[in-house]
């Protein structure tokens, strides 16, 4: 088990190294260097040269690379010129926190809906419950997130002005407002994710319900409840953990559009804003942090999986 954890950790570190190198390469070698990106095309050659010097862009490339990796390793994400020399980490991490909040609540809601729905529609395959679940999942699958988001916005903020049309107030400042601002983005994301997870849960349950050990459980004289919700569910839940984790990881990196629609200042929103203001020093760290979150989530998922499935834990 420890060896497994060590191997997965090492794997994660390797991925992060590759990602940070890729970010370095992309931001340094594309035409229009960071200094030009920051200043725009109408900057004077003197300003441009001064900024190149300041950013260390005149150093040999390997020196720049080592400095980049060294800073990252020390957790020094630098200062943003565009943001008045604010620490980049003071911009990126609060944004990450807000994105995680949105993603976590959405996943939670999706799981709460999808697990029972998927399970019941598998147990009652072909009945009206199953058909309703199918309509719901098909809708969730076929509707693009932004359509759902804008639709909700029109319905609940325009037609029936029950909720604020987006925005962000910290929880500590105004808890009620904070939560009311969360409702629409969470509903939007959760409905799509819930559709995916319901379908996954249903398929997994159906497979498990026809397994030999489920027949054994019935042959022992166990109640249908115990057979379905203990013997079958425990087996169907293991792959679900992975699916939930993967979906969560995807959400963290894929919130750009939703955060834009609901003006939620998360990581995706910060990325767009930084691109618009040419704050490449923020964008590169935001990309990196987004990737790191994905890697960490997947690591946690793998560890949970191996902990849940006795067959992996021992080998």
């Amino acid at each position: 088990m420890t060896r497994y954890v060590a191997r997965r950790l090492l794997h994660g570190i390797l991925v992060m190294w590759i990602v940070s190198t890729a970010v370095f390469v992309i931001f340094r070698l594309v035409p229009g260097d960071p200094a030009a990106m920051t200043l725009g095309f109408d900057a004077s050659p003197e300003d441009y040269e001064a900024l190149r010097e300041e950013l260390g862009l005149n150093d040999p490339i390997h020196v720049q690379y080592l400095r980049w990796m060294g800073n990252l390793a020390r957790g020094d994400f630098g200062k943003s010129i565009t943001h008045g020399y604010a620490e980049v980490s003071s911009l990126v991490f609060p944004a990450l926190g807000r994105t995680l909040e949105l993603a976590a609540l959405s996943i939670l809601l999706a799981v709460i809906v999808a697990v029972p729905l998927g399970m019941i529609s598998a147990i009652r395959e072909g009945t009206w419950v199953d058909h309703i679940a199918r309509v719901f999942t098909t809708l969730g699958f076929s509707m693009p997130t932004y359509v759902m988001g804008i639709g909700l916005l029109i319905l609940l903020a325009e037609v029936f002005p029950l909720l604020p049309p987006g925005g962000y107030v910290p929880f500590g400042e105004d808890p009620v407002k904070h939560l009311s601002q969360l409702i629409m983005p969470v509903l939007t994301i959760a409905s799509v994710t819930a559709a995916r997870l319901t379908r996954f849960m249903r398929a997994g349950m159906l497979e498990v319900l026809s397994a030999d050990y489920v027949r054994t459980a019935r042959a022992k004289g166990l109640t249908e409840r115990r057979v379905n919700y203990w013997h079958a569910f425990r087996n169907a839940a293991i792959p679900l953990v992975t699916e939930v984790g993967v979906n969560f990881g995807l959400l963290v990196g894929g919130m750009v559009v939703i955060e834009q629609i609901f003006i939620w200042p998360g990581l995706g929103w910060l990325m767009i804003q930084s691109i618009l203001t040419r704050a490449f020093d923020v964008v590169q760290i935001a990309v990196l942090v987004s990737a790191a979150t994905f890697v960490i989530v997947n690591l946690l998922v793998d560890l949970t999986y191996s902990w849940l499935d006795p067959r992996i834990a021992r080998s």
Partner: protein
């Protein structure tokens, strides 16, 4: 005359598949007395498993459908019972050991836990520690070494033979009156098969249970069973006491099966093998289902058009064949 423990009458089961109907069991009747062992033999697909699963209501419905018959256990018909009513029969009065021990235990639940559950579900008021003690005792009884330690292990830490022993322990946990073993050794190594059979015999002795042993190994049946049923295409072809079936088989299919057992006692030089394939259960030939492969009736019109019924041929032996006398002569000539 003893009242049988189990009487199956005219059992018919079919599977309604999207594109075809499979008549898996067709009018099967047999009975079993207390303490008796019945063997069911037949090639794969002949309906052996479906027959016994139906008795306990374990056929998946849909696509399965029991289209007729009764299964009287101690006088009570089990077929119309609800799942909830069947619960007190399953695992308590009638238990089953399945064919594949690798897939029959839940992979994510400890073996001891699965064993304890079998005890707990029928005696919920008994204490957890009592169930545990009895569980360890059962593992010990079926010959699992270090039962205390093994109790807390997962199925994947057991060998195939040990898993089947654990299944047997689970099946005998509540001292059932009937123990059904569906090809309990087919999936196991040859070297382990004999040990598992010994364990089964011991379990049967210990509980005094009647048993049904499904197998396609006639040799195994001869060692264990009192009576045997030979099935083909979801029908009973022949039934009788084990000695009678071996010494005076009356059905060409039984004779062919016997002729294909490798055995030293017999003076045959060449092993017989039945020509052709078992029928596709969705397209069973009309008349006698065995006729395309039968050495006697292959081209007789009676065999091709009329399905023979299972009739008494003396001494409690029954056979479903239009030409049992010729079959008996053929058997003698073949030296089976």
């Amino acid at each position: 005359m003893q009242v049988p423990l189990l009487t199956v009458e005219n059992l018919s089961v079919r599977f309604n598949m999207p594109d075809q109907v499979i008549n898996a069991v067709n009018g099967v009747s047999f009975s079993l007395n207390t303490g008796e062992t019945l063997g069911i033999v037949g090639e794969s697909g002949s309906g052996k498993t479906v027959t016994v699963l139906s008795i306990l209501g374990l056929i998946p419905k849909p696509p399965g459908e029991i289209t007729g018959g009764r299964a009287l256990f101690e006088g009570q018909d089990l077929l119309p019972l609800s799942t909830e009513a069947l619960r007190s029969i399953r695992g308590q009065e009638i238990s089953m050991v399945f064919q594949d021990p690798m897939t029959s235990l839940n992979p994510v639940i400890k073996v001891g836990e699965q064993l304890r559950e079998a005890l707990w579900t029928h005696n919920p008021s008994d204490s957890r520690s009592n169930h545990r003690r009895r569980g360890v005792e059962l593992l010990d009884m079926v010959g699992i070494p270090q039962p205390e330690r093994r109790y807390n292990q997962f199925p994947h830490e057991y060998s195939g033979g040990m898993r089947q022993r654990a299944m047997i322990a689970m099946a005998m946990a509540n001292r059932p009156k009937l123990l059904i073993a569906d090809e309990p050794t087919t999936a196991l190594d040859v070297t382990i098969q004999a040990q598992v059979i010994e364990t089964l015999k011991a379990a049967r002795q210990e509980t005094g249970a009647a048993s049904i042993l499904i197998t396609h190994d006639l040799g195994l049946v001869s060692q264990i069973a009192d009576r045997v049923i030979v099935m083909y295409a979801g029908r009973i072809m022949e039934e009788g006491r084990i000695g009678d079936i071996f010494s005076r088989p009356r059905h060409p299919y039984t004779i062919s099966l016997l002729a294909s057992i490798p055995s030293i006692q017999q003076r045959r030089t060449k092993l017989y093998s039945i020509p052709g394939q078992p029928p596709d259960m969705a397209n069973v030939p009309p008349g006698c289902p065995f006729h395309p492969r039968c050495a006697i009736g292959g081209d007789r019109s009676a065999c091709r058009s009329d399905s023979p019924s299972l009739l008494d041929v003396g001494a409690g032996q029954r056979a479903a064949c239009h030409f049992t006398d010729e079959a008996a002569i053929w058997a003698r000539e073949r030296g089976t």
